[in-house]
Amino acid sequence: MMVENSSISPADDQPILEVRELAKHFEIGSGLSFKRKTGVVKAVDGVSFSLRPGETLGLVGESGCGKSTVARTLLRLEETTSGSALFHGEDIFKATPQELKSIRRRLQVIFQDPYASLNPRMTVEEIISEPWVIHPDALPASERPDKVRALLENVGLRREHAERYPHEFSGGQRQRIGIARAIALDPEVLICDEPVSALDVSVQAQVINLLMEIQERLGIAYVFIAHDLSVVRHMSHRVAVMYLGRIVEIGTEEQVYNHPRHPYTKALLSAEAPLDFSKDRKKHQRIILEGEVPSPSNPPSGCRFRSRCWKAQEVCAGEAPPLEYVNNHAVACYFPEDSPAG
């Protein structure tokens, strides 16, 4: 489907990526025998969201909530159990290898670990050129050396860095190389899986700024996965909060952070102390959650948060609460916090 001309066509509001009821279940063996399956870990269990061109959707949650599994299934690094992900209307999960190759050209990724995600035996030039080796029609070979150097400058490195090897760079610089590789094919969507978690605060800010500049310049949409609430807030237009394989709340950055409606979102936000250094700063009031995240192989029935929720009642153990939208702000809870006016 093509919409010609007009810069503000209604098509701009059409999602570029639409994920529906995504589920990924891992079967676990007994340990001694690979054949006997003793249980199922529902790492992701019915996740739906959409991504519009040029926007950043933050995906936030604690370890084990399934946020990285969502990223891996969208890239088809893991096969899904069920659900669909429509990229320009084409289902990523049903794509043939040929179709997948064309999808991946427009859907790229940045990984968390800048040490493990670059091949130590390749020069920076070879690393950044690799996407063009896979997609030779993207850029004629004669233009590649120049483009590599232009990309290096775009991500704040120097042209002469092209001849070096990854071990000669710091963590922040390696992440820049990873970003240069990811944008080499001019993708429309970039999946960023904890791209700054391994970096120190001062270097982290450099990479955050770089990602935001690139988005402004190239209009790439990001799925930005992180556990750091303030980093996600800073980067994202919209935010989805995950708990035990499900999205519990989704809305604009302002809605989720200033008017959280799900009890888990409230607790999560309150866990992080504000940066208040004033003399008369009060002792920060936290909602301390009881216990720990239950095992995803044996989650509570109904609402998965109910075992730690101070609002839980009988109804929460029954049917799982659906994600219900009010003003584009959705929450999956039977007893949500009051809806903000407007």
């Binding site: 120190d200 270097v203 609430l229 607790a267």
Partner: protein
Amino acid sequence: MSSAPILEVENLQIEFRTGRDTVHAVNGVSFQVESGETAAILGESGSGKSVTASAIMRLLQSPPAFVAGGSIRFKGQDILSLPISQWRDYCGREIAMVFQDALTSLNPVFSVGWQIAELFKAHGIAKGRDADNRAIELLERVGIPDPASRAKDYTHQFSGGMRQRVMIAMAIALGPDLLIADEPTTALDVTVQAQIMELLESLRQDSNMAMILITHDLSVVADVADNVAVMYAGRVVERGPVADVLGRPAHAYTLALLDSVPQARGKGSKLRPIVGSPPDLARIPKGCAFNPRCRFASDLCRNETPPIVEVTPGRTAECHHAEQVFNDG
């Protein structure tokens, strides 16, 4: 506030001598900890904060680590000159430490209860059933549900947060007067982080123990610490009460660090990152170590080591442009 500090670190210098290079991990660190207070050491990777902590616990392996100068006094006693056999009596009873990674710090082949009871046995405080019961009491005190049966479990049967509680139980077992917590919550999720900080804080208040909290996390410092020492390239660059130092920095590095944290600035505004990366500790820049990354840097900073300036009473900064940073920041 008591008259004499419980811990005084004076011009501490620690080098790692490797085949080719000498890495100057700690280059003249001085600070004090009053009894009952929470003092934070704030810094990024490679700033020397963990090496300083390990030196206080005498955990550095020599070679490659050497104490090249300075002293550490605990209750007036120079602990670096104590024979290791005497030092063992201090460990646990007087000073104890909680490490970042509980999984590698606990022994996987002994039950958790056994490991805690071992402490009482080794120090000749209790033995047999009595030691076991004390271990169970401790597990209860750090909030482990069903402590009597959990004491029989091994570390792999505990979650990250629970393991950290076990480590805290071991650290406080002998009632130390000083607890060193080295990034105690870094490996944990935010909601569990909140639980552990709450626990440490309540234990500290109950027993009036002093705590050195080593962290890279500004919000943890804001939340619990009384005083803070900011470290960069092996030196304490700024030191004083948390509200003063982080509320209105007088060192260009502290100011730059605050500018690069997302939460500190309003949404949408651009972060102001620190350019470049921390120096190679085998080749620390001349003058002020921060000068290549500093927006205030002048020729003076490139050539001369900055003096320690008293910004306001009880608060120091090691910066040629302390006054300018203090007034402009």
